[in-house]
């Protein structure tokens, strides 16, 4: 099992960001849905090993990230795109992706090829030598995805990966997600239900730090039949589940 969470909780002072989340995941693409402040980003940061849980247990790729050695091994196999991608404006696309490939301790001989592949995969091959400060928001998002996938991760955590991407790029990105889902666990936090519908085999819905639904997109759609609001079936399922959780 690549991801095993048991009663995972995270508090920031008096704020309960994540409350008792339990889930397991193997290879595949998993959608993480929820309104703003639902706890999606905190949950992803815990899975990315940058935020320790307040309580509960967390096992990633068969290892406990609480120990330094296992945590390093998890990070070696991890790809992470945070919600707010920080970047160095003076770096070129190649430099930025290479920088993180080196920080991920990839074998030096593999780095140039892996960097080129990752940049091609996100469709930035023609802008590889461009400085990051010259790129649009959508292109920067793709650079962030490239650095996340450069080490061919076994666990890929993407927080709002399609924010700022144009429709054509979102379609291409979903294809990429599905490819990665063949061999790795991909967890995508998003507001865009169409991304979930198109790419995810499983979906988890969070609200106020709690997990209020998990199942397939079809099961979520079924929850919305005759209930909920929204233009798309998945949106209606989303709103119906949230309404039920809050009632």
């Amino acid at each position: 099992m690549n991801v095993e969470l048991t009663e995972l909780t995270r508090r920031f002072g008096r704020t309960q960001a994540v409350t008792g989340v339990t889930l397991e995941a193997g290879p595949g693409v998993f959608g993480l849905l929820g309104p703003n402040g639902a706890g999606k980003t905190s949950l992803l940061r815990m899975m990315a090993t940058v935020l320790p849980p307040t309580s509960g247990t967390l096992r990633l790729l068969g290892r406990d990230p609480g120990g330094y050695g296992p945590r390093r091994e998890i990070r070696r196999r991890l790809g992470y795109l945070p919600q707010n991608l920080g970047y160095y404006p003076g770096f070129t696309v190649v430099d930025f992706v290479e920088y993180f490939a080196l920080l991920k301790d990839m074998p030096p001989g593999q780095v140039p090829g892996a960097v080129a592949t990752a940049i091609e995969q996100v469709g930035l091959g023609d802008r590889a030598r461009a400085k990051l400060r010259t790129l649009s928001g959508g292109m920067l998002r793709r650079v962030g995805i490239a650095q996340a996938i450069v080490n061919q991760p076994e666990l890929l955590l993407l927080d709002e990966p399609t924010a700022g991407l144009d429709p054509e790029q979102r379609v291409a990105f979903r294809t990429l997600l599905r490819e990665f889902g063949q061999r790795a666990t991909v967890i995508v936090s998003t507001h865009l239900v169409e991304d979930v519908a198109a790419a995810c085999s499983e979906v988890t819905l969070m609200d106020a730090g709690r997990m209020v639904f998990h199942g397939t997109p079809d099961e979520l759609i079924a929850r919305g039949q005759g209930h909920g609001i929204g233009d798309a079936p998945l949106e209606r399922g989303y709103s119906a589940v949230l309404a039920a959780a809050r009632s």
Partner: protein, 512 residues
């Protein structure tokens, strides 16, 4: 989410040999994207304006030119604020750019990633310092006739630049923000200013450890008559290196910095650095100013007390005049200064048969090139008598307002004084009057003598009213009376009385 039974891929990914090569590549990436090169042109302009431009106008002696650049710390003052500011900017990068999570989620401990950025920053800063110094030394060397370079003070500045870079970097890493760079730069400027000010008032104790503290770190004839004493510089390198190590080590102590082993290493670096810095301060407390510079007994190598051998360059001013070859450009001025004085007394008993340069020293004691007490003022010593001249204590032409005329004038005054007194004393009224008469016939009028006397080192040696204003009326009257006598009469009187006059056995009333 659905429970699946797919196995976790267990591909062995770690390549142990990857670490050094990855770090080298990481360093290369950081070097190419470091902000330090952007400020180097500005530092170059300031360095040229503040350090090189002025040093190039100073007398062509390494000790004088580099005392300005290194001894008074101008080079470090030119570098430190900018280096600290840019290093703070680089140290705060992850915090400012919000890449903390991205970097933390990678295999490399955060401290290692920071070390790559820090190393690139320090390499640029110290490299630029060394290049600027190399170019400066090359340009300054052209008119310099003789002598070796003071490598230790250069090392002090290089490590000092690294220390400021490290402090700025640590400050930026701990307090990331857009204002941290100017704050660190101002802090660097403030530290330099404070250090220089302390140097004007303190001459010992802990303050000696400050790299821009000028007291006692440059012997007046270091590298010419005697070697550069490295004692204080070694302590300063220890201090600056220790401060740099503490700054870098502190970054590795937080839990987020890395694993237990790495944090232990960071703790060792921090403690070692602190110990080095504290030990250096303790050593500074034990420092004593010796004849050739500051001596720290625990670091002192007796081999450094040996004089530097040289073949003198000689001229003639009625008597042979020999100088250390570093002072070759001043030989004409020295013979010009001695000739009008020696012409009045040549051949008389007790008058020098030759003039020889002596090493200028900080304090009385065994000196190079002459007997005791020679080294702070010209003296006549030995049998046959020899005039020993510590030219290093006299303001050489072009040094901070001094001109050839003032140099010649000071030398005449010192020689005349050495003829009529034992040299180290102020002189009684009779000695003052004869000295004044000799100087008048050597081209310095009575009216001009108070100023000429005021320019000599005597005020520093507890001088007196003679250096502050006109002669007392009885002395002036006796001087005019003696000077008015024919040259042959003066010479005849001196032939019979110079020994007694020098011994202080004559009063004003016994002068002709």
């Amino acid at each position: 989410m659905t429970v699946t039974s797919a196995p976790v891929r267990a591909t062995p990914r770690h390549v142990p040999q990857a670490a050094p090569r990855n770090m080298a590549r990481l360093l290369w990436v950081e070097l190419r994207h470091n902000a330090m090169p952007l400020v180097l042109p500005l530092i170059a302009v300031i360095f040229w304006f503040d350090s090189y431009r002025i040093a190039a106008t100073l007398p062509p002696l390494w000790v004088v030119r580099l005392y300005y650049i290194l001894g008074q710390g101008h080079a470090l003052i030119d570098f430190a604020p900018f280096v600290a500011g840019v290093a703070a900017w680089m140290g705060s990068r992850d915090g400012r750019r919000g890449t903390g999570d991205l970097v933390t989620a990678t295999v490399r401990p955060r401290w290692e990633a920071q070390l790559a950025t820090w190393a690139a920053t320090v390499i640029w800063a110290v490299g630029a310092y060394l290049v600027f110094m190399a170019v400066t030394l090359y340009l300054l060397a052209r008119p310099i006739a003789w002598g070796g370079l003071p490598w230790w003070p250069i090392a002090v500045d290089a490590v000092g630049v690294a220390a400021f870079a490290s402090l700025g970097f640590a400050l930026g890493a701990y307090f990331p923000g857009r204002f941290i760079a100017p704050i660190a730069a101002f802090g660097g400027l403030f530290a330099m200013g404070t250090s220089s000010q302390i140097g004007f008032s303190a001459s010992g104790g802990w303050a000696l450890i400050l790299p821009t503290m000028s007291n006692g770190n440059f012997g007046q004839d270091a590298g010419i008559f005697y070697t550069w004493l490295p004692d204080l510089s070694v302590a300063r390198v220890m201090f600056c290196g220790g401060v740099a190590a503490v700054a870098v080590g502190l970054l590795g102590l937080p839990v987020r910095a890395g694993g237990p082993r790495l944090r232990r290493s960071a703790a060792v670096v921090t403690v070692t650095g602190a110990a080095a810095a504290v030990a250096a301060i303790v050593l500074a407390f034990t420092a004593q100013v010796g004849p050739y510079g500051t001596v720290i007994p625990a670091l002192h190598d007796a081999a450094n007390d040996k004089p530097i051998p040289y073949t003198p360059v000689c001229g003639h001013a009625g008597i042979p005049v020999c100088l250390q070859p570093a002072y070759r450009p001043y030989l004409p001025d020295v013979t010009t200064a001695l000739r009008p004085v020696i012409s009045q007394v040549a051949g008389l008993p007790g008058v020098p048969v030759r003039a020889s340069q002596a090493a200028a020293v900080f304090a009385p004691g065994p000196t190079v090139g002459g007997p005791d007490h020679v080294g702070q003022i010209a003296m006549v010593r030995g049998s046959p008598p020899v005039l020993y001249m510590p030219l290093g204590t006299i303001a050489l032409p072009s040094s901070f307002g001094a001109v050839t005329a003032s140099f010649v004038s000071q030398l005449k005054v010192e020689f005349a004084h050495a003829l009529v007194t034992p040299g180290s004393s102020y002189g009684n009224p009779a000695q003052q009057a004869v000295e004044a008469a000799l100087l008048q016939h050597a081209g310095i009028s009575l009216a001009a003598q108070p100023k000429a006397l005021g320019d000599t080192p005597w005020p520093l040696m507890g001088g007196g009213p003679r250096s502050a204003g006109a002669y007392p009326p009885p002395v002036a009257a006796a001087a005019r009376r003696f000077a008015a006598r024919p040259a042959a009469a003066r010479r005849a009187w001196l032939a019979g009385h110079l020994g007694a006059l020098r011994a202080g056995q004559l009063g004003l009333g016994q002068l002709p």
